[in-house]
Structure formats: structure tokens, C-alpha cells
């Protein structure tokens, strides 16, 4: 089943999402990128109902880009998170709500600190030091309670993420095989191989 994690550390956020695209019991694709780059310092991992996810992620991506073109500077992570949350909250009370869960990781270039937001399809939003969505969250969150360190270096952060992935692979019956991992820090966004 779909799983995504995110961890903050000293000056960075790591966002990881599995790469499987499933329809019922069948894996349709094993190299799907479910982490979108919204702006030079903002990442969004999305999961949920297929169709809704891509539609909503692209809607968010284009609107964040539009803001940047109009104002010549991008939205800061907290402002972007509030806008996205409101879009989901308004959708919730519409005829056909988007069924999309998000992890929003960003680096604020004005205040120089990492931000991570956990957002679900209801429009629930909270700022957290680490977060997870999907069945993997039941294993990863308790593991991160024990091992997460907000002052960890990137290498240590990636090691903690590896522990999460290994734990899910070990204990979850329907565990995903591969993950895409992206990091956002002062220098922007890059993909890393575990």
C-alpha cells in the first residue's frame, strides 16, 4: 500500500514516497514519482485516490507557480501550506471532494529554517518534526519517536529514513518495494539515492 515519510533535520527536510502505482491488487507501475517540486525550496509528497492525486497536485503546482510569476517571489512554506489546506477544506464540503493526503516539506529562505506540514484529505494541517502517511505510518511514527533528532546531519537523517523503510519492509504485509527520496535545504531541491 502507499506510504510516504518526511523528516526534518538541521537545515533540511527529507521527503520520501514509494514509487508503486496500484489498481486494486495489481501493480500497474513501479517507478512513479509521487513527490512534486512546487517551488525552488518546496516539496510535496501526495498519495490517495488515483486521479485525484495527480489532478490536485498539478492544480497546486500551477497555482504556486502563478503566484511566483505574478509577485516575482515564491510563497513561503507556511503560506503555501495554508493555501493548500484551504483548497482541500473547501473541496471537502463540495459535491466531489479530492481524496488526497499530503506531506509538505520546505526550506524558508527568509528565516533559514526547515518546515514540515502534515495535511490530510479533510484539510487537517499541523506542523510536525516528522510525519508519515499510509499503512507505513503505523510503524514509522513510533520508530521516529525513538530515533528522530532535529539536530541530525543529513547523513544521520538519511540513516533514520533507511530504518523507517527497513522496518516497513520487514513488518508490513503489503509493503512497497522502492522509494524516491528528495531533500530540500538552503541550496534547493535534489534527489538522493539511498
Amino acid at each position: 500500500m502507499e506510504t510516504s515519510f518526511a523528516i526534518t533535520g538541521k537545515g533540511y527536510v527529507i521527503v520520501a514516497a514509494d514509487t508503486t502505482s496500484a489498481r486494486s491488487i495489481v501493480k500497474m507501475k513501479i517507478d512513479e514519482d509521487k513527490i512534486k517540486t512546487l517551488s525552488p525550496h518546496l516539496l510535496m509528497a501526495y498519495s490517495g485516490e488515483p486521479g485525484d492525486t495527480i489532478q490536485f497536485a498539478e492544480y497546486v503546482e500551477r497555482n504556486i507557480r502563478l503566484y511566483q510569476i505574478r509577485n516575482l517571489y515564491p510563497l513561503r512554506p507556511s503560506a503555501a501550506a495554508s493555501w493548500i489546506r484551504r483548497a482541500l477544506a473547501e473541496s471537502l464540503r463540495s459535491r466531489k471532494p479530492y481524496s488526497v493526503n499530503l506531506l509538505l516539506g520546505g526550506y524558508d529562505t527568509a528565516s533559514h529554517d526547515p518546515h514540515l506540514y502534515w495535511i490530510d484529505y479533510l484539510g487537517t494541517m499541523t506542523a510536525v518534526p516528522f510525519a508519515a502517511h499510509g499503512y507505513g505510518s503505523y510503524f514509522a511514527l513510533s520508530l521516529l519517536d525513538r530515533y528522530h533528532n532535529p539536530e541530525a546531519t543529513l547523513e544521520e537523517g538519511l540513516a533514520t529514513l533507511k530504518r523507517c523503510i527497513d522496518e516497513v519492509a520487514k513488518r508490513l504485509v503489503v509493503s512497497p518495494g522502492k522509494y524516491k527520496v528528495k531533500v530540500v535545504d538552503q541550496d534547493g531541491i535534489r534527489e538522493v539515492e539511498l
Binding site: R85, R86, L122, G123, T124, V128, A131, S137, Y138, L141
Partner: protein, 208 residues
């Protein structure tokens, strides 16, 4: 599955002698799974009014934004700050506007209103999810631990408590009530509002 219990959380407010206190837990969960231990449910409305919103977390955030907008509009139009009694009716009518598709929250408010003589009068109130107001003289409770809060508050509260004693009473009431509720807890925040200042303290709680 009740939407009122989906995310968990509790709020309590109490009256003291020329002061009021309002307190909440800090948990945000998805049923039994804890997501955050720093989810604020109490928001300042003016310097003298605080509003607690336990219930469905998405509606907590939506209503907080909505009340900020409506209170700002009131302040601009009236060119003065809103009084607690007026704010209570604003909350009530905002919720009743959504009578047949409600926001799943039970607001609790605490504040000090001005009297003609220039002194202050404590004010607390709570409403249900469709805006039925409950003005109480002693204390009001809401949220997943409300049944437990009634019991503990009934035992600990007494009339005319000074600010420091009221802080101790409301803190012990909340801390002990949420320990008997699986959906509330993970730390607390307490605001004590007096004539010339608001004291906000964050309490550590059991993390289980």
C-alpha cells in the same frame, strides 16, 4: 465513527475572582494514532477574549480563520474591540448558519468584559456544534474528555479563586481528566486572563 471524536482533544474554561482561565490539551490524532503533540486549539480573539475549539481539526482551522475575519470586520466597522458577550453571539450565529451541514466543533470561550464602573467581569460560555449557547457561572467543558472534565471540575472548582489558585485548579482538572481519555492529552496549554495581563503556560503531560 463520530467526526467529533475523530481527531480527539478537550477544552475547559473556569471563572475566578476578576479573572478567567481557559485550557486545552495539545494532541492531534487520527482516531487512536497520534499525529502531533503541538496542535493548538485555543486562539486569542482580542487581548481579553480567548476561544477554544475542540472537535474536527479541519474545522478548527477553518473556523479560526473565519472568526479572525469576522472579528476584524467588526473592529473596523465599529471602531472598537468586540465584547465577550457579543463575540459569543457571533460564534453562535456563525455556527447556526451551517445548521444543516455543521462544523464539527464545540467552541468554548473565556474573556473579561468591561463594566460601566470601569472594572472587569469574568465571562465564560460554550456552544454545541450548531451554536446553542451555554452561559455558565462556574466552568464549561468540551471535547472527547468532557465527561471526565465535568467530574474533576465539579470536585476541584470553588468560587472566587485568585489567578494563581485558578491556574492550579484548571491545570489539575485538565491534566487528570485527560489521563482517563485516550483521545486527549500529550501536553496542555493554560491561559489565565486577568485585568492587566494574560499568562500563558505550557504543561507537560503523560505521553501515553
Amino acid at each position: 465513527m463520530s467526526l467529533m471524536e475523530y481527531n480527539g482533544g478537550s477544552v475547559v474554561a473556569m471563572v475566578g475572582k476578576d479573572c478567567v482561565a481557559i485550557a486545552s490539551d495539545l494532541r492531534l490524532g487520527n482516531q487512536a494514532l497520534g499525529i502531533s503533540s503541538n496542535f493548538q486549539k485555543i486562539f486569542p480573539i482580542t487581548d481579553r477574549i480567548y476561544l477554544g475549539l475542540p472537535g474536527l481539526a479541519t474545522d478548527v482551522t477553518t473556523l479560526r480563520e473565519r472568526f479572525r475575519f469576522r472579528v476584524n470586520m467588526y473592529t473596523i466597522k465599529e471602531e472598537r474591540e468586540i465584547e465577550p458577550e457579543t463575540f459569543a453571539h457571533l460564534v453562535s450565529s456563525t455556527l447556526y448558519e451551517h445548521r444543516f451541514g455543521p462544523y464539527f466543533v464545540e467552541p468554548v470561550m473565556a474573556g473579561l468584559s468591561k463594566t460601566p464602573s470601569g472594572s472587569v467581569k469574568p465571562f465564560i460560555a460554550a456552544t454545541d456544534l450548531i451554536g446553542c449557547l451555554n452561559f455558565a457561572k462556574d466552568f464549561v467543558v468540551a471535547g472527547t474528555a468532557s465527561a471526565k472534565l465535568y467530574g474533576v471540575a465539579e470536585g476541584l472548582w470553588e468560587p472566587d479563586l485568585e489567578a494563581e489558585d485558578l491556574f492550579e485548579t484548571i491545570s489539575q482538572t485538565l491534566l487528570n481528566a485527560v489521563d482517563r481519555d485516550a483521545y486527549s492529552g500529550w501536553g496542555c496549554v493554560v491561559h489565565v486572563i486577568t485585568k492587566d495581563k494574560v499568562v500563558t503556560r505550557t504543561l507537560k503531560g503523560r505521553m501515553d
